[in-house]
């Protein structure tokens, strides 16, 4: 098992990652070879599974696609949707949806000038930095996620 995998295992068991699990922002689903599957819980009760490509972890950015919650196959219907602001990052309408962010491997393909920034190394815990970004996309109102139900009222 390579050093980058050891680092990934350490980051997945870090207090920061486990805090997100405890808060029900996300949950660890599986790790299969270079892929880590994380389920995200949106404030409207929907959930989405992100398949995170973590090969050459730390040296390379993580690459995210959302997959079907049942069969874990990629597809446009597996992606969260939102308004125009949301779409600045989450290109869910694209024929091949991707995340347009300078810490996403597939986003960087569209903006090669981002690669030199190595923005994914801004935080020492790379995967927590990534899942925190996705959490904010779903939970911070101004990011424009399409909250579908009224399951967000006060109690």
């Amino acid at each position: 098992m390579g050093a980058e995998i050891d680092r990934l295992a350490r980051d997945l068991s870090s207090p920061e990652f486990l805090h997100g699990v405890e808060q029900a922002f996300w949950e660890f689903v599986a790790r299969e070879q270079d892929f880590v599957y994380i389920r995200f819980h949106a404030p409207d009760g929907r959930s989405f599974i992100a398949r995170l490509l973590c090969s050459d972890y730390w040296n390379e950015p993580i690459g995210c696609v959302f997959v079907d919650c049942t069969n874990r196959e990629p597809g446009r219907t597996a992606w969260p949707d939102g308004n125009g602001k949301f779409e600045q990052w989450i290109k869910f309408r694209d024929a091949n949806p991707f995340i347009c962010w300078d810490q996403d491997r597939f986003g960087i393909v569209h903006h090669l000038d981002w690669k030199g920034r190595k923005a994914w190394q801004k935080q020492p815990n790379q995967i927590v930095g990534y899942v925190e970004f996705l959490r904010q996309m779903l939970h911070v109102g101004s990011r424009g996620y399409n909250c579908r139900t009224s399951n967000t009222g006060d109690s």
Partner: protein, 101 residues
């Protein structure tokens, strides 16, 4: 003779009315209020915005963090929960994230 009817469960009722002291910070301001333990953090968020006169647009751009501005985020769908000690939270604006637009 009991002052309550038979169906009244005093312990359960006490649990329902359990309150928690929450100290809310926003920029240089702060305020404290008692919230029901059964309230969600969303209620704290909205109360803080009202207390600190944050516009609704700006309020939607804030999130609650525990203990410090850089502390872990709190899920606003979750209940505050039962705590004996006062809690400290910060209303903060998440950092900007670049995108390709």
């Amino acid at each position: 003779m009991s002052e309550h009817p038979d169906w009244y469960d005093r312990d359960q009722r006490r649990g329902e009315l359990q309150t928690v002291s929450v100290h809310v910070h926003f920029e240089s301001e702060s305020a404290t209020r008692q919230f029901l333990a059964k309230s969600t953090w969303r209620r704290v968020h909205r109360w803080g915005c009202k207390k600190f006169k944050v516009s609704s647009d700006a309020c939607a751009n804030l999130e609650l963090r525990k203990d410090s501005p850089d502390g872990p985020a709190l899920n606003e769908s979750k209940e505050i929960g039962d705590h004996e000690e006062p809690l400290t939270v910060w209303l903060v604006k998440p950092g900007a994230e670049p995108n390709g637009r």
